[in-house]
Symmetry: C2
Subunit: 270 residues, 2 copies
């Protein structure tokens, strides 16, 4: 399909978390139209085999391409880790960005990313060592210290963002970094930007760059569209598709997006 | 397949939670052999359609029947809610018990189950209203007050059973019952027996029956085997099968079972 500057940006995730990316893109590029796909019928991807994740990701890529998107943002760490190359190949001329690459670049270019970088993520992301590989490929001298925070996704979906449970949970997880000298922390899961303020408070007086990969990928997208002269003006629409339970998605969306959503449409992929 | 008293009891769940049922059965019936199946490749069931859950449950039933079990225990609330009748039909002469029926019977027969019964469970179980229906079918005069506790499963799987986060989470969820007069609380999820002590402490001086459906179904199984004269003597083996990630299952198993596991075997169902 022929794309031009008025075409939409496609963003996808295994579920709802990628809406933090959509939010960051709306803030960085308010004139762009966005098509979001959340694979709510098959979430979570982290417990599935790489082959299965690749199949799902390619189905979603086909769907977004059929909608004529001019760019694809992989707003899912599991897909970024295991299917990025296949998606780039399937997308042909359409540029593809992913949260891991954007987050890594942002961490390494920051003041705090010189010696030690901390990464927090789901168990699946941490076990995949995708951030470790991505950072080491660019700068082998940087030490990467990972900590899995499996409770943060369910906390975010319960809406417990800064209550006493959320604070105590983050305190427990982040105390793992007490004995380190990290000055940069990558939020390696698209749900985690919701906890950014509490995380910053947890580090208290310590100077630390908190790398919000949603913001990083939005900034990369802005630069890329500028470079390709594909910037839109006069758009600003957000269209959401899910593979199951649109109502639940709509209920949770406001928390992730900071505003309410219109209709959410169901699509069955196979 | 011909079954007799030396045959195993089959227990299954969508994942690891059903091991609390296995534990209760081992305590109530230490001479029985147990075959456990956890569908770790397809967990969680709660977000899937009833039709899909029924298909999965029937595949597992076939697997357990092929192993020659003399009884099947459905240790999964989602399956109990949506596929019990189909499993009973598929199992023919082999008796089938489920956690919802056992939990309901135990709650209603207790001192506290006369006027108001509380139920805690996952979002899927609470939304399905399966406990409400099951209780009302037996005694329409009892009021059922449900509270979803979505964070308890991830807390249990993280091993945070009685730390400050677990206590604060339970305090927040259970304060919902402050304005009620419940004297009976059903733990409507197979993960929840891990929190039984903290839950009891949370109700403090209040006299309340805490209905552990793992214990209830184990007791029902004991009586049923006695009635059918199918009790074993000289067994006591536990055989575990999962559909994915046997190592993760093994790591978590000790917490649910109170003891370590031997080998866990992988089975692919379809």
């Amino acid at each position: 399909m022929k794309t031009d500057s008025s075409s939409s940006i496609g963003i996808f995730d295994s579920g709802i978390g990628g809406l933090t990316v959509a939010k960051a893109v709306i803030e960085a590029l308010p004139e762009e139209n966005i098509i979001y796909f959340g694979d709510t019928a098959r979430v979570p991807y982290g417990i599935k085999s790489e082959e299965t994740v690749r199949n799902y990701a390619l189905q979603i890529t086909d769907f977004l391409l059929s909608k004529g998107v001019k760019m694809i943002l992989i707003a899912c760490n599991t897909v970024s880790a295991s299917a990025k190359d296949e998606i780039i190949k399937a997308a042909g001329d359409i540029p593809v960005l992913d949260v891991i690459t954007s987050g890594t670049d942002a961490a390494l270019s920051g003041e705090g990313g010189k010696d030690q970088i901390g990464v927090i993520g789901t168990l699946a992301t941490v076990n995949s060592k995708a951030y470790v590989r991505s950072i080491k490929e660019r700068n082998n001298g940087v030490e990467v210290i990972q900590q899995a925070c499996p409770l943060l996704v369910p906390l975010a979906e319960e809406g417990w963002i800064d209550n006493v449970v959320a604070r105590q949970t983050l305190h427990t997880y982040l105390s793992y970094f007490d004995e380190t000298n990290i000055r940069s922390l990558i939020l390696g899961c698209t749900h985690y930007p919701l906890f950014k303020d509490v995380i910053a408070q947890e580090f208290g007086g310590k100077k630390i760059d908190i790398i919000d990969s949603a913001e990083s990928i939005a900034e990369t997208a802005r630069l890329k569209l500028k470079e390709l002269r594909l910037e839109n003006s006069g758009g600003g629409k957000l269209e959401c598709y899910v593979s199951d339970r649109p109502q639940r998605f709509q209920e949770l969306a406001e928390r992730f997006l900071g505003r309410s959503l219109g209709d959410v449409q169901i699509v069955t992929l196979s």
